[in-house]
Amino acid sequence: MEAIINMALLTLLGVVTLAIVVQRSLLSVVILTSIYSFLMASVMIVLDAVDVAMTEASVGAAVSTVLLLGALYLTKSREETPRRSRALPLLLSLAVGAMLVWGTLVLPPFGTADTPIHQHVAPRYINDVMGEVGIPNIVTAILADYRGFDTLGETTVIFVAGIGVLLLLGGLRRQDPEEGTPEDPS
């Protein structure tokens, strides 16, 4: 049953991706991206990744969409018809896709428990987390405790990205009066 729901949602995801590829109006692309994120969050719930699904639904579908809409408001919302040839990119993409599909043939089937990924680190986390950290949500325990350095670095990345955007868009109030920004869209 889980596998069937997963297949149905993944099919919808593929359809939305194709729609994003062919769509020319950037506003429609942004709305489709939002739909894509919600579908992705649903797939993640089926894959038992509830924490990740919650993040994807709030970050991907809400904040990313708002940021993309903001950027579209400041720029153009229509994509020009392409001038360069599309044969070479299509050929490249298909070649890469064919090679990757060939590579997946040796991967273990979906949802089996005896694959290498489930043998090594995960059982230790699942068995020892109650004794060592004492909180039942294993994802939070790994995120904040076992891999605390990882999350510290990641919080720093968010901090740096925020500072970068504030600097680029002149969000910081302390601005150099001499160094005028190139404002005129010539």
Partner: protein, 138 residues
């Protein structure tokens, strides 16, 4: 901003529940799905919803620009400060066991503080990004 009455009333109705949900996700993250990232983004989404419905100045009354911009580094400081506190209490950096008398309680406290740090940075950054894009358009 002269928007739809349904949108305005609906926003007012739903807003406390969004914020309450953010707090629930933040503090229940150790027992159910959730944590600092999710809570931060949900809280930021509430501010963005106010900005979209009632206009930019209304959102700035809830979350002033200066506050939001100070939240961006403050969260990283809380996170790193927790690590330094562990350091001075005799443990390794980010080894929360020494924060309380019982190692398990210390870990609970450490995870709690770290998640607050993450939530502060993430919510501050998301709102600051939104403000930056909005104010560029004026």
């Amino acid at each position: 901003m002269n928007s739809d009455v349904i949108l305005r009333v609906g926003t007012k109705l739903i807003l406390p529940f969004i914020l309450l949900f953010a707090i629930y996700v933040q503090f229940h993250g150790e027992y159910g799905p959730g944590g600092g990232f999710q809570a931060g983004v949900i809280a930021a989404a509430a501010v963005i919803l106010v900005a979209i419905t009632f206009g930019h100045s209304a959102a700035k009354r809830i979350a002033p620009r200066g506050l939001v911009e100070h939240m961006v580094p403050l969260g990283v400081l809380i996170y790193a400060g927790t690590g330094v506190a562990c350091f001075f209490l005799g443990g390794n950096y980010l080894d929360y066991g020494v924060l309380a008398h019982d190692p398990i309680h210390g870990r609970h406290l450490g995870i709690f503080l770290v998640e607050i740090g993450v939530a502060v940075t993430v919510s501050g950054t998301m709102v600051a990004l939104f403000y930056a894009f909005v104010e560029r358009g004026r």
